[in-house]
């Protein structure tokens, strides 16, 4: 019950007019970001980060995380009304959401989407409230080898479990780790990979790279598409809301299953996209009436939305407890922590109680307020789509430039942002995933420090990573995940070999 008391303390930090106002601003901006094409959760947060540079960390994180919740809600609006997923994680919502809108049940679909989003993130916040403090206090005992093992586990699970071609994930991650190392070496103070340039001395800023990779490249990609759209107008009445809410308890199994999938994939680097598809498919598989999926079944909206939100929210758990982000957006929030002068990691729970519990309390409040806000203002946000893209695109470009410049007041960063914009465009089109790059860039220095500190501690003996049960099992698990495709291939091969041996007898 200690967590409960701390949560109340968090609410006391949160309940000031200024913080509440910033929360509303964050939510509204977030819904815009989610609705607009060419802007998504991660780049919305990255672009708006400079607004928070002069704020205190608690107000800053509350506003930024609310942008994120808003973007999660906003993605559903375009999926259902226009059959255009505003975000990759709302693709699965279009399968049943859009048919419902075509049948004139847009309001029901939207209510279902928003409410299940709320439930998904509520479950995830509960998980964070009661699990994160425990994990953090456990992690306080970690030394450099344990931390390196956890970083290794994160990187390896991306390579082993990712759906992209393995060598492309490795390219993305190695490049991110290399670029993280540019500039002053934190252990020895030596310069490296700067080639005598003063601009590279500062290193390659993570946020500049993110704004280029996600903001600029997304604009380039969006322009390639045909931007005409046609969709429904919807207004949600209280009657519809109550009707959907009355129906909801019937689908408790789907809601619970989807929340669990979302939480699991959010904490591990599976992510919201995988979670929404997986939960849709499982809802379909376990349903008695499989054929009605894809034709406007309300359960087909509940499942992906619950999972996407549960996953998006629980991605903050490892970020808060261990300093390891579970998603791209969490990685950007982690970058924000460093800008505000906080040191991410388990010590956060001890040294900055107000910050951590304020953030957790804002997740509860932000989701309740967000739910009410989207239910009442859907028509306004749907109308945003009437604004032509040729007006939105240059405004996004300007916002990206402001964001990139503001971080270090350097013109060089604007050029760097443009380069990363082109790199992001090319990488996305040739199938090099950007998430491992982002993660490697933000974690690179910390991972290297922990590796080198371990090596210094053990006088260069690699066996330090197997020196006790904890670090040994994490390292071993990391290596198993890294070689998982080969291992699972091997198991399959042995099985089929056995079957061939057995078949002549049968």
């Amino acid at each position: 019950m200690e967590a409960f008391g701390l949560l109340l303390y968090g609410f006391s930090v949160l309940l000031t007019w200024k913080t509440l106002a910033l929360m509303m601003v964050g939510l509204i901006l977030g819904i815009f970001v989610g609705v607009l094409p060419g802007l998504g959760g991660p780049n919305g947060v990255a672009i708006l980060l400079p607004l928070t540079f002069t704020m205190d960390p608690t107000s800053a994180i509350v506003m930024l995380s609310c942008i994120y919740w808003g973007a999660l809600f906003g993605g559903a609006i375009t999926s259902i009304l226009f059959n255009i997923p505003g975000e990759a994680w709302s693709v699965a919502t279009t399968f049943d959401g859009y048919p419902m809108a075509q049948q004139g049940k847009a309001a029901e679909a939207l209510t279902a989407a928003f409410t299940s989003s709320f439930i998904g993130s509520f479950v995830a916040v509960l998980l964070i409230t009661f699990l994160a403090p425990g994990i953090a206090s456990f992690a306080l005992k970690f030394g450099p080898p344990e931390f390196f093992a956890v970083y290794l586990l994160t990187f390896c699970s991306f390579v082993g479990l990712g759906r992209e071609e393995k060598h492309k994930t490795i390219i993305s991650m190695a490049l991110g780790l290399l670029l993280a190392g540019v500039g002053m070496d934190t252990v020895s103070g030596q310069l490296r990979m700067t080639f005598g340039s003063d601009n590279l001395l500062r290193g390659i800023n993570f946020l500049v790279a993110v704004i280029g990779l996600f903001g600029i490249s997304e604009i380039l990609l969006t322009m390639e598409e045909r931007l005409a759209l046609r969709g429904h107008v919807a207004k949600i009445s209280l009657r519809v809301v109550l009707k959907v809410w009355k129906e909801m308890p019937r689908y408790w199994v789907t809601l619970l299953r989807s929340s669990a999938i979302g939480c699991w994939l959010g904490i591990t680097p599976g992510g919201a996209i995988a979670a929404s598809f997986m939960s849709y498919n499982l809802a379909k598989r376990f349903s008695k009436d499989k054929d009605s999926f894809g034709k406007g079944r309300i359960e087909g909206v509940f499942a992906p939305e619950t999972a996407a939100h549960a996953s998006g929210t629980s991605a903050l758990l490892p970020m808060l407890a261990l300093g390891i982000p579970g998603s791209g957006t969490a990685a950007i929030l982690l970058g924000g922590l460093m800008v505000w002068g906080l040191n991410p990691g388990p010590l956060l729970f001890v040294e900055h109680k107000g910050f951590v519990w304020g953030l957790i309390a804002s997740m509860y409040l932000g989701n309740v307020v967000g739910l009410v806000l989207v239910l009442t203002t859907v028509p306004v946000f749907a109308a945003v789509l009437r604004v032509p893209f040729s007006a939105i695109a240059p405004m996004i470009v300007v916002s990206c430039a402001i964001g990139a410049y503001a971080i270090q007041n350097a013109m060089f960063d604007i050029w760097l942002m443009l380069v990363f914009g082109v790199v992001g465009y090319v990488f996305k089109k040739i199938g090099i995933p950007l998430a491992p790059f982002t993660l490697a860039l933000v974690l690179g220095n910390r991972a290297e420090d922990s590796f080198r500190l371990s090596m210094i501690g053990s006088a260069g003996d690699m066996r330090v990573f197997w020196s006790n049960g904890l670090v040994g099992s994490i390292t071993t698990l990391a290596l198993i995940l890294l070689f998982w495709p080969i291992i699972s291939g091997g198991i399959g091969w042995i099985r089929s070999a056995f079957r061939q041996d057995a078949s002549p007898l049968a």
């Binding site: 607004l51 060598h167 390219i171 190392g181 919807a234 032509p388 240059p394 402001i402 007041n409 040739i430």
Partner: protein, 186 residues
């Protein structure tokens, strides 16, 4: 029954047209495989360069443990190996038909955003960010979006002003400024 439900389905719609949409039958500029191989060679060259620099910095061990260039050197080696694997894989598959990387129409549209963005960054250095952003938004809306000039200019003016008030005045975020801002004493 069917006709009744059809009547109910007629709901208000939002329609947005795209007059300059890329044609779906536009010829390909290049294939995905070509770009993949070219990008891999670029990354391979970068890996070589970084490996050399880290070798110069010191990639071995000294009394205090691994030197500054140790991890980056091996990361460059891993990057190079992954690139070579990718190049080899695409080379072996060269007989098969390649997917389109970008069509001519799409490429034209991408350049329509990229070139103005480039000019915007270039002009920002002399004109300051806010004037440059006014020119970018107004020009882009009027020329590429084919929106009425007065609408474009008004939108661009309001947008730049809003940005100025938000960042320069409300949030104290300092942006590059030019002669116009100097005129008003900023």
């Amino acid at each position: 029954m069917a006709s009744k439900s059809e009547a109910e389905i007629v709901v208000a719609e939002i329609v947005v047209e795209d007059p300059t949409a890329p044609a779906s039958d536009s010829p390909a500029v290049t294939t995905r495989r070509t770009v993949d191989v070219v990008a891999s060679f670029f990354l391979l060259a970068l890996a070589g360069l970084l490996a050399f620099d880290n070798w110069r910095t010191g990639m071995g061990w000294d009394a205090t443990g691994p030197q500054a260039g140790y991890l980056p050197f091996y990361l460059s080696v891993i990057l190079a190996a992954a690139c070579l694997y990718g190049i080899g894989k695409e080379f072996l598959a060269r007989g098969q038909a390649g997917e389109t990387f970008v069509t001519r129409d799409q490429f034209r549209r991408v350049l329509q955003v990229f070139v103005p963005t480039l000019l915007f960054c270039l002009f920002m250095q002399w004109l300051g960010l806010y004037v440059a952003s006014f020119l970018l938004v107004a020009g882009f809306m009027a020329v590429i979006g084919r929106i009425a000039t007065w609408k474009s200019v008004l939108t661009a003016f309001l947008f730049s002003l809003a940005m100025f008030v938000t960042f320069e005045i409300a949030f104290d975020v300092i942006m590059p400024k030019g002669p116009l801002e100097a005129l008003f004493g900023h």
